[in-house]
C-alpha cells in the first residue's frame, strides 16, 4: 500500500542525527580549514563521535549490534550528516553500507565471528571495498550497439600459497575509505575464478597511499592500495557470487545521492537565511522576485531529488516492486543519479549566486558546496555513462 510516511523510528533517528550535526558538526564544518578544497584534514574526531552514536554500524542487524537500518534510513542519515560535513557523511556511509553487506550477507558465520567483535568495539574501525584497478576501462558507449562483452580479467591475483592461504599481488585504485579502513574486501582472481577476499589493513605486503585531495576529486577518504606478496589466510575468501552486491556499492548508490542532497540542502538553507537577512534595494533580497524565484527553484530541486532518491533507496530493498508493476522497469538508482546530480549541482550554484562575491570565497562554505556537488555530478563515469546504461536497457541489448 503506497504510503510515504516515515516510520517513527526513522523520524527519530533523523532528528537525532540532525541535532548531532547542529551541536557537534556545524561549527567545525565551517571552520576555514574544513572549507579549503585543496587539502582539508579529515575530521576524524567527528567521525569517531558519530560512530559512538551508532552511525558506523547503522546497517548491521540489531541482533549483531547495529541498528538494522534499511537503505532509506541510511539515506536519511546520510543527508543529515552531509548537511553538516560531506566527508563525515561519506566515510560513515561507506563503512555502514559495507558493514551491512559483509557481516549481514557475505561472510560465513566463522568469518563473522572472527571480524565482528573488533568492528563493533572500535569506533575507528572502517571498511573498504577494493575493486577498481588502474587499467579498468568501463568503456560503456564505445560501439554502443555492441553485444555485451565479458568483464576483463582482474589483474589483482590471489595465488594459493605453498603453505596454505593466499598470496595477493596487484593494485587497486580510488578505494573509498582506504586510508582509514581496518578491513578491505578485495576483488581478486584466483586460480578457479574470482571473488572477494578479506584483507586486514595490517596484512604484510599491503600498503595504502592516500590520494591527493585536490587532484583526486573525492569525498571522505580515498586511497590506492598495493598488494605485494601479501599473505592472507585461506579462510578469508568470501564464498558465493557477489557481483550484484558489488553493484549496490558502486558510486551510483542512493546513499551517495542522499549525501549530495545534504550538501545542496546546506547551500539552500544558507541562502534562505542570507536572503532574509541581506538588505539591498531597500528590502531583504528574498523579497525581490528574482531571488525569491531562484530560491523556489532550489527548493523544488531538493524536494524532487529527495523524492526520487528515496524511491531508488526503497527499490534497493524491494526489488520485487518492479516485477509487480509498482515501479517502472528502469534501473532506479541510475534514474535518480542522473536526475538528481544535475539538479543538485545547479541548486548549489544558484544558492551561491545569492551571496554575491561571498559565493566564491574560500572562507565561506558556498564555493565548497559547488565543488562538492560538482564532484557528485562527475562521479564514476558521469551522467553520460549512466544514461547510456539506461539506453542500453531500453534498446534491449542487455
Amino acid at each position: 500500500m503506497y504510503d510515504l510516511h516515515l516510520s517513527e523510528e526513522q523520524l527519530a533517528i533523523r532528528d537525532t542525527v540532525r541535532d548531532f550535526v547542529a551541536n557537534e558538526i556545524a561549527a567545525i564544518a565551517i571552520h576555514p580549514d574544513r572549507l579549503e578544497p585543496f587539502d582539508p584534514p579529515l575530521p576524524v574526531a567527528l567521525i569517531d563521535k558519530a560512530s559512538e552514536l551508532g552511525l558506523r554500524t547503522l546497517a548491521l542487524a540489531e541482533d549483531r549490534g547495529g541498528a538494522g537500518a534499511d537503505t532509506l534510513t541510511c539515506c536519511l542519515v546520510a543527508e543529515e550528516l552531509a548537511a553538516g560535513d560531506v566527508d563525515v557523511a561519506s566515510v560513515l556511509a561507506q563503512t555502514a553500507s559495507l558493514g551491512g553487506l559483509l557481516f549481514g550477507r557475505l561472510m560465513s558465520a566463522e568469518q563473522r565471528d572472527r571480524f565482528l567483535p573488533a568492528f563493533l568495539e572500535d569506533n575507528g574501525y572502517h571498511l573498504a571495498l577494493a575493486t577498481r584497478e588502474p587499467t579498468t576501462d568501463t568503456a560503456l558507449g564505445i560501439n554502443y550497439h555492441r553485444p555485451a562483452s565479458e568483464a576483463p580479467a582482474l589483474e589483482t591475483v590471489a595465488a594459493a600459497a605453498p603453505g596454505g592461504g593466499w598470496v595477493v599481488d596487484g593494485i587497486k585504485t580510488r578505494v573509498a575509505n582506504a586510508p582509514v579502513a581496518k578491513l578491505f574486501a578485495v576483488s581478486v582472481a584466483t586460480g578457479s575464478g574470482s571473488g572477494l577476499l578479506l584483507v586486514p589493513h595490517d596484512a604484510p605486503g599491503l600498503t595504502v597511499t592516500e590520494i591527493d585531495r585536490d587532484g583526486g576529486w573525492y569525498h571522505g577518504s580515498c586511497g590506492e592500495v598495493t598488494f605485494t606478496d601479501c599473505q592472507v589466510p585461506a579462510e578469508n575468501l568470501l564464498s558465493g557470487d557477489q557481483s550484484g552486491d558489488q553493484a549496490d556499492l558502486s558510486e551510483i548508490s542512493p546513499i551517495n545521492q542522499a549525501i549530495n542532497l545534504g550538501v545542496a540542502r546546506a547551500a539552500y538553507a544558507a541562502a534562505v537565511d542570507y536572503g532574509k537577512l541581506r538588505v539591498q534595494g531597500g528590502r531583504p533580497i528574498i523579497e525581490h522576485q528574482a531571488i525569491g524565484n531562484k530560491l523556489a527553484e532550489v527548493a523544488i530541486s531538493l524536494d524532487v531529488s529527495r523524492s526520487i532518491i528515496w524511491q531508488a533507496a526503497w527499490a534497493c530493498d524491494n526489488p520485487q516492486a518492479r516485477a509487480d508493476g509498482s515501479l517502472s522497469a528502469l534501473p532506479q538508482s541510475l534514474v535518480s543519479q542522473v536526475a538528481s546530480a544535475e539538479m543538485l549541482h545547479r541548486a548549489a550554484k544558484d544558492a551561491a549566486e545569492c551571496f554575491g562575491a561571498m559565493g566564491v570565497m574560500r572562507d565561506m562554505p558556498l564555493q565548497k558546496y559547488i565543488h562538492d556537488t560538482r564532484m557528485f555530478l562527475h562521479s564514476g563515469n558521469g551522467n553520460t555513462d549512466a544514461k547510456l546504461a539506461i539506453a542500453e536497457a531500453l534498446a534491449g541489448y542487455r
Partner: protein
Amino acid sequence: MDFSLNEEQTAWQRKARKFAEEEIKPISLARDQIADPAETIDWELVKKGSKLGFRTAVVSKEQGGHGIDYVTQALVMAELAKADSAASKTFSQCWKWSHLISAACTDEQKERFLKPFLADDTFVLGSGQTEANSGSDTRRPPPGDIKAGVRLRAELDGDHWVLNGEKQFIAHGNIAKLFFLYVRTDFSVPFADGTTILLVPEDTPGFSRGKVYNKSGWRFYQNGEMIFEDARVPVANQIGETNGALRKGDGDTSGDMFGDLELAANALGICDAACEQALEFSRSHVSGGQPLWEQQLVQLKIGRMNMLTEALRSYVLRVAWEHDQLIHSTNAGLAMNLSTDTVQEVTELNLEIHDYAGGAMDRGADKLARDSFIWSHLAGDSVQRLKIAGRIGK
C-alpha cells in the same frame, strides 16, 4: 559587414597568443594552486607582459601608450584568458581605469598619474566601489533610497577630502598603486546623486590595506579590503564634478561598458581553452579500444561547446566594434550576461568529456570551471541581468 581584422589587430592578437602560450600557460596551474591568496600573482609575468605593452595597451599613443582599439582589446583579452583567465584580467583591470583617465581626468591629473603608471612595469590600477552594505545597490542604485549605496564618507577639509570607512572585495586592493575610489560626498540625497570619484594613491596617509580575499577561482587576480581612517586625499585628485561619480562616462564607452565587454571577451578565452582541452582529450583518450572522439555523444558535446563559443565570439566582436564606433546599445550588457551562461556551460561540458577518464578530474578542466563561476556574480546574477534588461523596455 566585414569580419576581418586589420593588420594592427592581427599583430596584437598574434603577440598576445605568443605571450599566452609561452609565458602564461606554463605557469597557470601552478599559480592557481598556491594556497596563500596574497602570493598567487607572478610579478615577473606582469613585468614581461608590461614590457610587451599589455598593461598600458589602451593608453593613447599620444600619451605614451599603444592606443589599441576595442576590437583589439577584445582579441587580446581573449587570447590571454585562454592561457589564464585571471592573469588576463590582471592586465585588463588596468585598461578599465586607463579608459576612465582618458575620458574624465584633467590634463594635470593625466600628467601626475599617467606618467608613473607608464613608467613602472608593476604599477597596476584598482577600483574601489563595493562595500559591505553596497553590493547590488552599487550596480543598481535603488531610486530615492538615501540609505542605500556607498557609505565611505568623504568630508571636505580645506583642499583635502577626509575619508573614513571601508571597501570590500576590491580588485587589486592589496597591490594597486592607484585607486579610483567611489566615496559618498552627500548623505542627504540618494547614492546616485551624492557620490564622487577620487584618485587615491597607495601612499595616501590614513589608508591601509586589509585582508586579501581567498577566492575559489581566478586566483592570480587578487582582491583585498581597503580601510580608511581620516585618510586625506587632495581635492585636486577628484575626477569630474563633486557628486557626479555615476554621471561620468555617459556618452563614452569607458567604465561600465568596457567592463561588460571585458568579461565577455575574457570568458571567450576560457571557452577557447575548454574547446581545445576537450578536443585534445577526446582524441588522445582511448576507451574500449577507440578514441573517445568516435562516440556520438562526445561529438555532440564538442559540437555544442564550439557552437556556443563561436556565437559568443561573434557577439563579442560586434560589441567591440560598436564601442569603437561609439554606438550605444544593450549589446555590451547582453553579451556579458550571455558570457556567463556560455562559459559555465562550456566548461561544464569539458568536465563531462573528462568524465570518461573514470577517475580523478583533470586539474586543468577543474580550474576552468572554478574560474568561470566568478561570472555568476560579476556578469550573470539577477542584478546584472535586470540592469541590462531594464534598458530594453525603455
